[in-house]
Symmetry: C2
Subunit: 407 residues, 2 copies
């Protein structure tokens, strides 16, 4: 059961984009016609593109090809083609060939050139990629293209996700309303062979690729790079952002601050939905680190707390075990002055300048840690920088899934 106490709003269409999907039986021929597993996003005009990719040293071929295409053709992208069910990773020399073939199929059904197409794959690692099964029915993806098909796009990239992940935001600029819609998939590096984090976002805001890329890099740091289910990233992690605005003839936005704000909200929600869908997760915890010397230090410290098995099991047990959080901070490798560290759980002050607050009682902490969602605030008293990281708890169900899952 995901930690999802709200209903997702229907995603908004984005002018210039149509979305379709196909059922190709990627994972197994039995699934053909039963579940959608190929997503096609087509821009009716040349789109500006930006991307961020996995930091893992082992990268799938689709990541290498995607990076190259964005580098060389970022101002003229026309489609994204993505599949679930097979990561096309760890399969040796054919990996790059199959990845290129998927791009060519996407280009063909979208009616564009291969160098205008970005791809992504997610699913089982180390299995031959079923390019022929995809060839047979990928046509469905182009015949189903519609502006309001974003939920289907989100459905068709699911692997172990228990729900489809999508969201939209709108903002005003130059007297016009612009839209950002995005989808994501991932339930943490949980089912390890199916755990890729993918997100595709589209907007009609008229912004050049170069500017889009700078914004996306910043936004990815505070969203997709600020979640932790168990600290691992996969070979295929990919985020694509496309913009149709300039292609549609709008004048370039000079002030992009409203766009960056709206994109952050979209990306943060898409990232948080991945944490909320972490296997075995029963808690959604925001870790807010402040008083750091810089944002990188704050984020790293937040991540250190977020990945500690002792902290995550304390969350699972609704145990306000501040000693474990102190240990994690002390182990971060960051410069820490113990007598400057303060800590709160929601509004309950636990530590003030390194000392247990005299009014604090275990019962006060327990009331917060018993909640399904709460915020842990750590101030290290060294500077003005802060960062937020989102994480879940570590439960029996996590062990069950991961110890008993067969690759």
């Amino acid at each position: 059961m995901p930690v999802l106490p709200y209903t997702l709003q229907k995603p908004l269409p984005v002018p210039g984009f149509k979305v379709g999907s196909a059922s190709c039986g990627v994972k197994s021929p039995d699934l053909k016609g039963k579940r959608q597993d190929v997503t096609l996003i087509v821009a009716g005009v040349p789109a500006q593109a930006a991307a961020v990719f996995t930091q893992n040293a082992f990268r799938a071929a689709c990541v290498d090809l995607g990076e190259q295409t964005v580098r060389e053709h970022a101002t003229n992208i026309r489609a994204i083609v993505a599949n679930a069910g097979n990561a096309n990773a760890g399969v040796g020399e054919m990996e790059r060939v199959w990845s290129q073939q998927l791009i060519e199929l996407g280009a063909e059904v979208a009616g564009v050139e291969p160098n205008q197409v970005l791809s992504a794959s997610t699913g089982v690692i180390g299995e031959p990629f079923p390019i022929e099964r995809i060839r047979e029915t990928i046509g469905e993806a182009s015949t189903s293209l519609r502006e309001d098909n974003w939920i289907q796009a989100a459905e068709a990239i699911r692997t172990t996700d228990t729900f489809a992940k999508y969201t939209s935001r709108q903002f005003e600029a130059n007297g016009k309303t612009y839209t950002i819609t995005g989808v994501s998939k991932g339930s943490g590096m949980i089912h390890p062979n199916m755990a890729t984090m993918l997100s595709f976002m589209a907007t009609d805001a008229p912004i050049r690729a170069e500017v889009l890329q700078a914004i996306l890099s910043r936004v990815a740091d505070v969203s997709f790079n600020s979640i932790s289910v168990d600290g691992d990233t996969s070979t295929n992690d990919t985020v694509y952002l496309l913009s149709s605005g300039l292609g549609l003839g709008d004048a370039e936005l000079q002030d992009v601050s409203a766009f960056e704000q709206a994109l952050s909200e979209v990306a943060i929600e898409l990232a948080q939905l991945i944490v909320r869908d972490g296997e075995g997760v029963t808690k959604f915890v925001t870790i807010n680190v402040s008083g750091a010397e810089n944002e990188t230090q704050a984020r790293e410290l937040g991540r250190t707390i977020a990945v500690s098995p002792l902290v995550k099991t304390a969350f699972a047990g609704s145990d306000a075990n501040w000693g474990r959080i102190i240990m994690a901070i002390g182990n971060s490798g960051s410069f820490i002055q113990p007598d400057k560290v303060s800590m709160k759980a929601d509004d309950v002050l636990i530590l003030k300048d390194g000392n247990l607050h005299p009014d604090y009682t275990d019962e006060m902490g327990m009331r917060v840690f018993a909640k399904q969602e709460f915020t842990l605030t750590v101030d290290i008293g060294l500077g003005d920088a802060s960062a937020m990281v989102w994480t879940g708890d570590l439960t029996h169900e996590y062990i069950t899934i991961n110890a008993e899952y067969r690759s």
Copy 2:
């Protein structure tokens, strides 16, 4: 149940040292007379001393005091006094006072000066330290002093340890047989308020403090710093090494290589015993990283693999999930060339130069991962340096203990 398929040998007496213990009811008055919880190690002559301490930014007062005493009096140490049941940590201003009082009590019953005494504490964090209960019965520790009391010393520093940890080695130098005996405690950062790693080692090898310190620092890296139960270290972690040889009148050893080898064996066994006693651990896995550019890179990479929850749950499930190990390597932050990485489980070759070996089958991997003990060898093909790290698996029992344990 620990992973301990062998019987520990009785530790050997070390000339120049006597060991005693007392039952002071440190954790609770009810335990007075029921379990030993104060250890006293006394050198009959001035001992040379070396120490290594926790890297955690939050350090208990006993660590600060121990570090200071070793810095100022390393050639004239006469005793170690240690208690289990209360870490004397996280208790504010009294912490240093209580720590100093424990040292003074140890000095009094050992008949030496306080600046000749090193101390260590382990147990519950954040509770007042019961110095008066210790004062009442610490005398037992001096009346029980004997050369062959090392098992009692190991017993009296246990907290959540399911067995007492000790070992000895002897080596020849200058035509004489010298002894090293050590004890340790710790079952990983598992019961977080009782999880301190302590080790005390003693030898009659005649070596100056300065040389001892250099050797101990190297040895700690390949032993106590090369184990991982869940990646966290505590506020009180302490390793002390004392040598009586020069005090007993032996000529200083010029060639210390046999000593360093023997000390490594002692420290590695004491460290491995901590992994073997990790709560919920059912597997003991050696991670052998080779082909690194330097030893630090090799050890860090080994630790990255060793702490990955996905890798540790794969161990628990006897699942030869090499994909998870690849992910952990790729996430290490180390420079990695994927096409140079090879991997073996015991003698079974899984990956060769980044490719799955054609002869490898899942069944071959499973046969190794099903064993209670096995070695995972990863060669990253970049250089000649190597390191070994020891770890356990991540099981349901770990979650049960840590989610349900109340601080």
